[in-house]
């Protein structure tokens, strides 16, 4: 692995063909995949009618996605449209068909080499930051904000020590670090007596020998179907593949193709010939395409399927895939605000805002519903404090709502949340964030996830428990001392993580996700045994 990884050029991430047409490079087993150039006129002829945002259609063999252009300074739509063009990946090239070859190459890599590769990847990204962002800002062919998020956060995630720590903690057993179990067979300090049949066979004259049991965390072939709720999702999913030495096919969501392209380019910059690069694909296709997904979901194509995203996506994959599936289902966060907050409303609201705005409220951990202990008057006072706190964030990190989001909020106000009391920052087209106190239950499926908080009043924090189930990823509790009393009940209800309010975004190496030790799910736990002294009596 080179420690002098080349810096990336914008062309590696987005190829500007002019007139608002941008080809997005992909990666197929280490080789770049780029669509043939097509003109805006060709695209316009094939373009269906529909809203600007998110329309996907075919032009010849290419997939085209139409999306609005945002002003770099204000983040508001400019009214212009651009077209992202993707080559259609060949599913036959994505599937790994020779597990034995993988066992000799990728799977046989010592974890230290994985760390070296991660270091090269980190360097490639770190060295590229300045020039990439400068080029992206000037050329307007890639979203500089999405790239900046990725370039700022990724190097830290690739820290070699943290990677080893995560693997050691997640895969470790019996005091043996996970990296050792991933790298080879590890003896288990256990007695493995012969089975019932062997004992009967002993009557035929041969005593079974002793065995020294061993176990290994065997890498797997992994298909990662990622979601678009955060630009980091493709990276996080890849990182788990990397840490488990998996042969990965990573499908990006339509909303994260730019950051996925950045990942593909960085892998090549780190080392195009490295076994990790040669056994990684980072691709995009419109979800549900049977000509691509049929071969990928065929029995034996992959050992694991990791699926992030909507309930519909999860259901669809589960119906079609026979591989063991790791589901990172849609979940959401809640905030539980105790009566003590009334004396510290600015602090509680500030903390609640942090949990609410994780990845612009698109993360599965972002808080969407706040349960406030107290009277209606106290709940309304909390709403006012939260409105003020959100207004501060609106000023700190302006994020104008797109027209469809504003339309959704207006619809809620004039329908399902008509009986609520609304606290809005901005009006009409200038609406930036909102809080609503509702005396009646709200259907979460209607939540627009756009700096919008639903507040419910409860007599006691315990009274919120019936509303909380396994769909809740994170519960933030205020004050911290109230958390101790609620933690077991929340965990028993299926909540994935319970933190003091404002700390829901904290992570550490090897932290469980959605109630799972995910790296453990991505390896195949294989047991074996070596013979002890022959003929030794039982």
């Amino acid at each position: 692995v080179s420690t002098h990884a080349a810096a990336l050029d914008l062309e590696d991430v987005a190829v500007d063909d002019g007139q608002g047409v941008v080809r997005v490079p992909q990666l197929v087993k280490g080789e770049p995949l780029l669509a043939t150039r097509i003109t805006r006129d060709e695209i316009r002829r094939a373009e269906p009618a529909g809203p600007d945002y998110g329309t996907v259609f075919r032009v010849g063999d290419a997939t085209v996605r139409r999306e609005p252009v945002y002003d770099a300074a204000t983040a508001a739509p400019t009214g212009e449209v651009r077209y992202l063009v993707f080559a259609r990946p060949d599913p036959a090239r994505l599937v790994e068909t020779d597990p034995a070859a993988l066992a000799r190459t990728l799977y046989a890599l010592p974890f230290a080499e994985v760390q070296d590769f991660a270091e090269a990847l980190r360097l490639a990204l770190a060295r590229s930051r300045g020039s990439l962002l400068a080029q992206a800002g000037a050329a307007q062919v890639a979203d500089p904000r999405a790239l900046a998020i990725a370039l700022d956060l990724l190097p830290a995630l690739l820290d070699r020590g943290s990677l080893a720590e995560a693997v050691d903690r997640d895969l470790g057993m019996d005091g043996v670090p996970g990296t050792r179990l991933l790298d080879g067979w590890v003896a288990v300090d256990a007695v493995a007596p012969p089975g019932f049949t062997a004992r009967i066979g002993q009557r035929l004259g041969r005593a079974p020998g002793t065995m020294r049991p061993s176990v290994r965390a065997m890498p797997t072939r992994q298909l990662h179907i990622t979601a678009g709720n955060s630009p980091m999702v493709p990276f996080l999913s890849f990182l788990r593949g990397l840490m488990t030495k998996g042969a990965c096919t990573l499908k990006s969501a339509a909303d994260t193709t730019e950051t996925a392209a950045l990942l593909g380019a960085a892998l090549r910059a780190a080392d195009p010939q490295h076994p990790i690069t040669r056994h990684t694909s980072v691709v995009y296709w419109p979800g549900g395409d049977p000509t691509i997904e049929g071969p990928l979901f065929a029995p034996g194509a992959y050992d694991r399927v990791v699926v992030w995203g909507s309930a519909e996506t999860v259901r669809s994959v589960r119906q079609r895939s026979t591989a063991r599936t790791v589901v990172l289902a849609p979940r959401y966060g809640v905030s539980l605000v105790g009566r003590e907050a009334q004396d510290r409303l600015p602090e509680a609201a500030h903390r609640a805002c942090i949990d609410t705005l994780i990845w612009e409220q698109k993360a599965c951990t972002a808080s969407l519903v706040h349960y406030v202990e107290g009277t209606e008057r106290e709940a309304l006072a909390y709403c006012e404090a939260l409105q003020r706190a959100l207004a501060q964030w609106d000023a700190l990190m302006p994020r104008p709502l797109v027209r469809a989001q504003i339309g959704r909020l207006r619809l809620l106000r004039r329908g399902p949340l008509l009986q609520g009391t609304w606290f809005e920052n901005g009006r009409g087209a200038d609406l930036r964030s909102a809080v609503v106190y509702t005396p009646v239950p709200f259907d979460l499926a209607l939540h627009p996830m756009s700096r919008f908080v639903v507040v419910r009043r409860v007599e006691t924090l315990e009274a919120a428990l019936p509303w909380i189930g396994s769909a809740v990823a994170t519960a933030g509790v205020f004050p911290a001392c109230a958390m101790m009393a609620l933690r077991d009940a929340l965990a028993a209800a299926g909540v994935g993580q319970v933190f003091p309010l404002g700390d829901g975004e904290r992570v550490w190496a090897g932290k469980p996700h959605d109630g799972m030790r995910i790296l453990s799910e991505l390896v195949s736990w294989v047991s074996s045994a070596e013979e002890g002294p022959e003929g030794e009596a039982l």
Partner: protein, 433 residues
């Protein structure tokens, strides 16, 4: 503008009723082929502006919404379109109240979406049927619908609004299918391919059509009550027996040369026709008979047929000409029903104003386009008649080959994405929080 006591004199009512009278007259002329002129538009828009004032003064949720938008008092109708159209206002109660049978609280909720605060005698009320009867005794006529989301809606009408619901259709109903050469209307038989209704929108439409017939027959004689819908209980029906009686009814009408009107939801008629073909074989209804459908395929989308396949099935089973298959469109809040003409257009009578909304939930009066379909109904005297339907449609305007003019809906009317059950792009499951 403050909320007034419900007993206070309705100072706008006389002018509103005069607008209604003028609109009905204009609609009768429109149904005969005359274009609806600017007078009709002026009467309609004046009535809508008057209703805005009345709602602001008399309906608490509307008052609060208008106050929040700083739109109390006289406003341009365009502001109503952009800021005051409502979605599913009749489902905004706490569902726990319904499950608990807390009719006092439900009555109080009804008073927030109505021009009156109903005060019925609720002693001993056992279910929705009882509640509906007690409200009726108090002058509140509640209809309900199950809706595709599963949450029932309750629409409260006063006597004026109920009368409008009953009478508006007569101003534009096309009776030419049963008009004799001498101009008189021939009697007809009506077969309703479903149960009797007990206040539920489409079933009540069937009841109304049956009342106008010389003879009527319901596939299911039992009444589907609101309590049964709430309990998710089906009616205990032997389909074979029910179909047998329906076939006999069709045969009798044919024997006597009487035209038949067949009414039902598309899935009901599809099943009936399939039973005809699987059982006795094609039946021949009297020439000139009609089929009227309503309610769409809703939760029976899995059975959906294209329009041509559907009318072809009806023709095969009953011999009714596809040109005589009419589809109706309405919602539980509207006092009118649109019907398709021979060209497949859903014509909008001058009684109401239709508008399509864009993704930002704004629209332009009098303009066509595709978007979320909304209506402004001047005849909704007792509740907010400014309604976002939750459906998506294409609104157009102009003369039609059928002889009618003005606005119409063309193409398929479908559920607007994300307005019900599937929020935020389907990211999260429907879950009460």
């Amino acid at each position: 503008v403050s909320l007034v006591d419900e007993a206070a004199v309705d100072t706008h009512l006389a002018e509103l009723l005069d607008c209604h009278r003028r609109l009905r007259a204009a609609t009768r002329a429109w149904a005969e082929g005359a274009p609806a002129g600017p007078e009709a538009e002026a009467a309609r828009r004046r009535a809508l502006c008057l209703n805005h004032l009345r709602y602001s003064e008399r309906i608490p949720v509307y008052h609060d919404l208008a106050a929040g938008q700083r739109l109390l008092g006289p406003v341009a109708l365009e502001q109503v379109v952009d800021e005051l159209l409502l979605l599913d206002v009749f489902k905004t109660y706490d569902p726990a109240l319904l499950l608990a049978g807390d009719f006092a609280a439900l009555t109080a909720w009804l008073g927030t979406v109505f021009t009156r605060r109903p005060a019925p005698d609720l002693a001993g009320v056992q279910g929705l049927g009882d509640w509906r009867e007690r409200l009726r005794a108090d002058g509140v006529y509640v209809s309900f619908s199950s809706a595709t989301s599963g949450r029932m809606s309750f629409v409260p009408r006063d006597r004026l609004t109920l009368q409008a619901l009953a009478a508006n259709g007569a101003t534009y109903t096309d009776e030419s299918w049963r008009r004799a050469p001498d101009g008189t209307l021939e009697p007809f038989d009506c077969l309703v391919a479903g149960p009797r209704g007990g206040g539920m929108g489409i079933l009540d439409a069937g009841e109304a059509l049956a009342r106008g017939a010389a003879r009527s027959h319901f596939l299911v004689e039992e009444v589907l009550t609101a309590d049964a819908v709430l309990a998710g209980a089906g009616l205990d029906v032997d389909p074979k027996e029910a179909h047998g009686r329906a076939f006999a009814f069709v045969r009798q009408a044919a024997r006597e040369g009487r035209k038949l009107m067949l009414f039902g939801a598309p899935f009901q008629l599809k099943r009936l026709c399939e039973a005809v073909l699987a059982g006795p074989g094609p039946l021949k209804a009297t020439p000139g008979s009609v089929v009227v459908t309503g309610g769409g395929w809703k939760s029976f989308r899995g059975e959906r047929l294209s329009r041509s396949a559907f009318t072809g099935l009806i023709e095969d089973a009953l011999g009714i000409d596809p040109a005589r298959c009419i589809d109706g469109y309405s919602t539980s809040e509207l006092t009118v029903a649109l019907r398709t003409c021979a060209h497949g257009h859903y014509h909008i009578p001058p009684l109401v104003e239709a508008v399509v909304l864009d993704e930002g939930l704004t629209g332009r009066l009098g303009e066509g386009g595709t978007g979320a379909l909304a209506f402004l109904d001047p005849f909704a005297v007792s509740y907010p008649g400014f309604v976002i339907t939750g459906d998506e449609a294409t609104l157009a305007s102009g003369p039609c080959g059928c002889g009618l003019s003005g606005p119409f809906l063309e193409g398929e009317i479908r559920r607007a994405s994300g307005l019900e059950v599937r929020g935020c792009g389907g990211v999260l499951e429907s879950l009460a929080v």
